[in-house]
């Protein structure tokens, strides 16, 4: 007879076939897990990049208009306007391969072959001065040997060591600050509502 269930397992779903797992399991990790067999050179990558990527990201990865910048920005991370690129900021090369393969070219994702992605990744290393030889060939064999310059500058989340969090003090309720509060800065963009007077002024900063 039918009975009331208490807990799993439920015997629901079906086993995935190897072909199915292979079709979707496209992710790559810094240790190389997930890398497909294949290879591509800087020179091959330059052709592919020029055809598929430069229209948005610029011939040298400098970014066209507001499209993302992919190269440059070295030593800018402490500047007032840091430029965070593969060369200046990204910790791992695997992220480049993984992301280009899953999401680029924007609007025609999954259209590149594995070898194409190796070649383009090699070219992005070249644009970022991580490799300098146009004959350099990137492959699943040498991939994990390549290190990006900023890898060591990532640290764990230590927000709760910040003084305002660490002491968990009861906050002040009265006469918390001497003197009357004065306005020292006003909104730069007065009205971003579409159609309003000054919504065309572009502000600073990106969404992420």
């Amino acid at each position: 007879a039918s009975s009331v269930r208490t807990d799993g397992p439920f015997g629901l779903g079906r086993e995935a076939t190897p072909a199915e797992v292979a079709a979707w399991d496209i992710d790559i990790r810094p240790d190389g897990l997930g890398l497909p067999v294949g290879s591509g050179t800087v020179a091959e990558g330059e052709v592919l990049y020029t055809d598929n990527c430069a229209v948005c990201h610029g011939d040298f990865g400098e970014g066209v208009g507001r499209w993302p910048v992919l190269a440059g920005g070295q030593d800018s991370l402490t500047d007032e306007r840091p430029e965070k690129t593969i060369g200046s900021f990204w910790p791992y090369l695997s992220t480049v391969y993984d992301y280009v393969r899953r999401a680029m070219p924007y609007g025609n994702a999954r259209s590149l072959s594995d070898d194409d992605v190796y070649a383009i990744t090699a070219y992005l290393l070249y644009l970022n001065d991580v490799v300098t030889d146009e004959e350099f060939e990137l492959s699943d064999k040498n991939f994990v040997e390549i290190r990006l310059p900023n890898e060591d500058n990532f640290i764990p989340d230590d927000r709760y060591d910040e003084p305002h969090y660490a002491n968990k003090a009861e906050p002040c309720m009265t006469d918390c600050k001497a003197g009357v509060a004065e306005v020292v800065m006003r909104a730069r963009i007065l009205d971003v509502t579409p159609g309003s007077a000054d919504d065309d002024g572009a502000g600073a900063g990106a969404v992420d």
Binding site: D27, R66, P156, P163, Y165, V184, L190, T193, P194
Partner: protein, 403 residues
């Protein structure tokens, strides 16, 4: 008997009375639309201004962009589905649920594929959670910039999710002892991925198919999204099609190039998942000025914390010199929005409004200055600093920073 525009008379009466009262109005005489005029209802035409809005100069294309929830037009703790802010990386995937699959692979005993119908046979839960983009208020790190809480704080919404606890699905596949991380992946053109530690996956994550009682909206991941309570919105993978179990994190694009917090010293924090305790006054605010002059004024706002419940919200009307504990109204649920009010008698002089939330872990919402001292101005993410609105004598309101 025609309707009379009431503008001029609002709030006052002629000797004989307001014609909106003394004359019979059309809607009191003639029949309006019947039932089924709109089998799925929509807001009144007089609410046409209550919409999500974007900021065009922010992004190169609308398919990888964001728009903002009109917080200043909303009340309570639930965001209506049609007004939940959107953030896409490859546009909205339009997927027939009959064609959707969820795969679990990697370090499991049995790699599985589920249909939507399979998922709806597991025990399900309903939970209210806020979802905040880690970049919410990100444009304000260097100082006051945008005039409106829709833009400064509108990358948040709070809805009721219905879904299957992720732990049931992982139990079904059988996580191997070395399975320490999961990688949820979307079916959209961005194939969005994030690394999530297994502890969180087995704690309160849901694989959700409904929001606010009805199917997820397409722009929120229909037919399936991951719910990661209290953590960065980017991790709540939409159009969820796959979950891989692994022994190490993946360090994918959205957790390296993006969603890492660059400090003043050039180091960057990674895996900064929790959305910290935060609040904002939604009314009055730059898009919602005071139009009624002095006297009773309702100050209203929202507060939330990725660490659990908000236990207290204080409001200052003098730029943080003195604080008044606000009334938290309606359900107080962990990792959900909270609504607070302070009812004041406005004497018509300038106000410098601030709100400060405290969560059940005892964390107090910091000032913007405290955050800048600790982190610099390049963090982009996790700006939960105290917001100041300047209410002027004419009732207009401006986004300001103060001494």
């Amino acid at each position: 008997t025609a309707a009379v525009a009431g503008g001029a008379l609002t709030g006052t009466a002629r000797a004989d009375g307001d014609p909106l009262i003394t004359e019979i109005q059309d809607w009191n005489r003639y029949l309006g639309d019947g039932v089924q005029a709109r089998p799925y209802g929509v807001p009144s035409e007089f609410e046409a201004h209550v919409v999500r809005r974007d900021v065009e100069w922010l992004t190169a294309s609308t398919e990888s962009s964001v728009n903002f929830t009109p917080l200043h037009e909303l009340e309570g703790i639930i965001t209506p589905n049609g007004l939940c802010f959107e953030r896409h990386h490859g546009g909205i995937a339009e997927i027939d649920p009959a064609n959707h699959r969820l795969m679990i692979n990697g370090l499991v005993d049995k790699q599985l594929v589920f249909t939507m119908e399979d998922l709806k046979r597991f025990p399900r839960e309903n939970r209210v959670y806020f979802l905040e983009c880690a970049a919410n208020s990100g444009m304000e790190w260097r100082g006051a910039q945008l005039n409106g809480c829709q833009y400064t704080h509108g990358m948040i919404h709070c809805v009721v999710y219905t879904g299957v606890p992720l732990k049931y699905l992982l139990q079904e596949a059988g996580v191997k002892t070395n399975g320490k991380w999961i990688l949820p992946e979307g079916a959209d053109a961005a194939a969005m991925t994030r690394s999530v530690p297994i502890e969180k996956a087995l704690d309160d994550c849901l694989v959700a198919f409904k929001m606010n009682g009805e199917a997820l909206r397409p722009e929120q991941g229909y037919p399936l999204r991951l719910v990661v309570p209290g953590w960065e919105g980017n991790m709540w993978v939409k159009w969820l099609r796959r979950i891989e179990v692994g022994d190490e994190p993946w360090h994918h694009r959205e957790e390296t190039s993006k969603y890492t917090d660059l400090l003043a010293n050039g180091k960057s924090r990674r895996f900064t998942w929790v959305m910290d305790v935060k609040s904002v006054i939604t009314n009055p605010s730059p898009q919602a000025p005071v139009t009624h002059g002095k006297g009773p004024l309702v100050i209203s706002g929202v507060a939330w914390s990725g660490n659990g419940r908000v236990t207290r919200v204080d409001v200052s009307i003098d730029g943080g010199r003195n604080w008044h504990t606000a009334r938290i109204d309606g359900p107080s649920l962990p990792k959900a929005m909270h609504r607070f009010y302070l009812d004041i008698d406005w004497d018509g002089s300038d106000l410098l409004l601030q709100s400060r939330a405290i969560d059940e872990m005892g964390y107090v919402q910091p000032t913007k200055e405290e955050l800048r001292v600790s982190r610099g101005e390049n963090s982009i993410y996790h700006n939960n600093g105290i917001q100041t609105w300047h209410v002027k004598t004419d009732g207009t309101v401006e986004n300001v920073e103060i001494s």
